[in-house]
């Protein structure tokens, strides 16, 4: 029998970016908050110190900061006719684990998603007609607007120390920024990073081709900074150990140096690490949750933690898993197209070219998580007409490298042998004389891309694994072809000595190579309980005292990185709880 603990006001499941924001905000509002984190405690001083944090084998090849798939993983397949098999090791994506979560080891790229996403179905139907959206593309409006979120984007950018250049200040287009972004009320808190040679070369080429390049906004502090909460940042050292690594310079916007330590100093807040939540408990009416059960992995004991309110603040995929394991909300069924939990799982797609310039010195190892120049002409430029190309969504193109770590980064011209003297010579010749142009593309929701519980495999706690069914559809392939053409056109205009051109991917999604940790959907937001798990305040339609945060609430995926709206929605939800829910504990949107 689980040992029952005294009730608290709020239980947070997972302590990364969203858990940290809620922990800080809700404990400051006077609530007794307990955060249950399944991983270990972690601090930058102890865990990210030099020189040990600069260990590519440990942190990149062996994924030391991420979820341990020996303990819990997913099963995966490309379509419902395949046998789903376990993702036996990490590859395609890297969920975080431990205090700080993936917020400790992200690159820092921070975008504002706008109504291009939030009103996706209305806007495409208005412009291109209902038939333009394929029948199996289950995109939907989110129920929230950019105007509502704008202040919360600003709050998150200031918290996380985002370096960038505004492209649209209160409706006025600004030089050097992204002219296609939504109107912002204020500039980024920090100016852009110093640009690399690759950035400058890409900028010039993009401009020559008539595009609108701009330095990508990123939570890598371009200079020392103190955020509105008083958290201090050092300037980025361009060390080239950003994604998959913790930052020893406190220059990367991380919950570990911002919201979490502030919450930890608040006596209303208690953190319990090594606490693996196995279930969210419902009351007999099914309209409220009563708390959670968890296992203390330090001794294997099971506890029940009653709570007035529960917020799921783990990684997107783990939030969905916990909803399914807890039996909250109706599981999605792709055949009947009923149910909502697990629906609209989305991912991202990419293409890349490598350009070799004999004699140039790119010094790829002088890099940061966001050191590249982007262009949004085929993404947030609504004037770009998708009709001739037949796809929905879009992609951004970027030039530059975020690191030059040599186990994973050794650009070689196609056709180079894999070993031997010739391989060594080419590795030596081109390591410092190549640059990358790549694209990141959106993935639209599809009826057959979804999550559910697996019938065969279990995690080490004896619970069923979650099953992921995912593949790219025709929409993504068409977009990929367009992106590869654009990349190659820009690349050729730069006259490289040699070039490995970009090719659109045609093969099924594979779990093996790393692609992106931008997994979205499964606990999606929407306008009514028939099409979504949570309302626009991330509040469960089923149990009004349950909130679900993170990218699982996105009903489809953008070409943009997800952390901007993940952070903004966390602040937005915290505000809704503090200002409205605490006064009247009931659904914030009537069903």
């Amino acid at each position: 029998m689980a040992k029952k603990l005294p009730e608290v006001d709020v239980v947070l499941v997972g302590l990364g970016w969203t858990g940290g924001i809620l922990a800080k905000e809700l404990s400051e509002a006077g609530l007794k908050v307990v955060a249950l984190e399944r991983g270990a405690p972690r601090t930058p001083q102890e865990d990210f110190s030099l020189p040990r944090i600069r260990d590519e084998l440990r942190f990149s090849s062996r994924n030391d900061l991420t979820q341990n798939t020996q303990r819990d993983t997913l099963t995966i397949r490309n379509n419902p006719s395949q046998d789903a098999l376990p993702m036996r090791r990490l590859g395609s994506f890297l969920p975080g684990e431990g205090v700080g979560g993936a917020g400790a080891h992200w690159n820092g790229v921070t975008w504002r998603w706008n109504d291009t996403e939030f009103k996706i179905r209305s806007r495409y139907e208005e412009r291109y007609g209902k038939k333009f959206i394929p029948e199996d593309m289950t995109i939907q409006d989110w129920g929230i607007t950019y105007a509502e979120l704008e202040p919360y984007y600003e709050k998150f950018e200031r918290t996380a120390a985002v370096s960038g250049k505004a492209g649209n200040l209160r409706g006025r287009i600004e030089n050097g920024g992204n002219p296609f972004e939504g109107a912002r009320n204020s500039e980024y808190p920090l100016p852009p990073l110093n640009q690399s040679l690759a950035c400058d070369m890409f900028t010039a080429a993009a401009k020559d081709n008539g595009y609108h390049p701009f330095p990508r906004p990123v939570a890598n502090a371009s200079r020392a900074y103190t955020n509105p909460d008083g958290s201090k940042f050092g300037p980025c050292e361009y060390c080239g150990f950003c994604e998959r690594f913790g930052c020893e310079a406190n220059a990367k916007g991380s919950p570990l140096i911002t919201v979490i330590p502030i919450a930890m100093r608040n006596p209303n807040f208690e953190l319990r690490t090594h606490s693996w939540v196995t279930k969210v408990l419902k009351d007999p009416s099914g309209k409220k949750v009563t708390g959670v059960t968890y296992t203390n992995t330090l001794n294997g004991e099971e506890y029940e933690q009653p709570a007035g309110m529960v917020a799921l603040t783990a990684y997107a995929i783990n939030n969905v898993h916990l909803m399914l394991l807890s039996g909250i909300g109706k599981p999605y069924d792709p055949v009947a197209q009923t149910g909502v939990v697990g629906k609209n799982y989305c991912y991202q797609t990419g293409a890349a070219a490598t350009l070799f310039f004999e004699g140039r010195q790119f010094n790829p190892f002088m890099g940061t998580g966001g050191l590249n120049v982007g262009m949004d002409d085929f993404h947030y430029d609504w004037n770009f007409d998708r009709a001739p190309h037949g796809f929905i969504g879009g992609y951004n193109v970027a030039g530059g490298m975020t690191h030059g770590r040599p186990i994973s980064y050794r650009p070689l011209p196609a056709g180079t042998p894999q070993w031997g003297k010739e391989w060594k010579a080419a590795s030596a010749k081109w390591y410092n004389s190549a640059m990358i142009i790549s694209s990141s593309g959106s993935v639209m929701a599809n009826r057959y891309n979804y999550f559910e519980l697996d019938p065969n495999y279990r995690n080490v706690f004896g619970a069923p694994l979650m099953r992921m069914t995912f593949d790219y559809k025709a929409n993504e392939h068409r977009m990929g072809e367009h992106a590869a053409n654009v990349i190659n056109r820009i690349a050729k205009s730069m006259n490289p000595t040699l070039m490995n051109p970009a090719t659109a991917r045609t093969e099924p999604w594979s779990v093996v190579p790393y692609q992106s940790t931008h997994n979205t959907g499964g606990t999606i937001m929407g306008t009514n309980p028939g099409n979504s798990v949570v309302n626009k305040y991330c509040q469960s339609w089923d149990c009004h005292n349950l909130f679900v945060l993170g990218a699982g609430v996105f009903p489809h995926n953008s070409a943009y990185n997800p952390t901007g709206p993940v952070g903004a929605l966390a602040y937005w939800t915290a505000d809704a709880i503090k200002n409205r829910y605490l006064k009247n504990q009931a659904p914030l949107v009537s069903a």
Partner: protein, 241 residues
Amino acid sequence: MQNEEKKDEGFGRRDFLKSAVAGGAVAAAATAAVTVPQGAQAQPAGNGPAPGYAFLNLDEAAFVEALVDHMVPADQLSPKGTDMGLAIFIDRALAGGWGKGDRLYMQGPWKPGVPSQGYQLPLTPAELYRAGIAATNAHCMKTYSKSFDRLDATQRQEVLLGLSSAKITFADGLPVRVFWSTVYQTVIEGMFSDPIYGGNRDKAGWKMIGFPGVIANHAQNIIKYRDKKLPPNFVGIADMS
């Protein structure tokens, strides 16, 4: 030349160790086994002391040494694979947590699946490596009547091309592609990981391409060395500890 090459690649030492043992049995020489440790302590060809493997047995060590010396030959860019510590790196990786299946979900049922589902063997990386070496040597015995480490350079090249293209298949059912990708991964990691793991000795892999290592405070350098080579100063974790 041929003989010298074989000797350099561990032929002599392994044969000595093996024949000493077998000879002890056959020739009934009660002292044979006793002499073995002294033999093992003799300096092998190449620099440095005998490596002292923690996982690889004699046949496996000979295979790995031959493999890394073939894949990473000595030239003006770097010493050869064994002299860069690649065999030691691989041995330690297989003996350690990664080799023993750390972070690998190892619950059945087991099915081959499709390539996009990734690794699906009921083997830890160490078990895979062991089985793959045995299968490759079995292929070599069948084709050339010699184990891999006793092949000449042309034959080794032929075998590696066969493995990397999966034109070779293993009779016992072990999937060649999975074995090769694991082998390749470990060679690359041994060459470019921090020297604390036993490979990339003297940072020779980093020096080869110009990766400076762990200091990596480039806030000024990114301006100062725009389109210029950073002056050589290679630093590993141990150098800063």
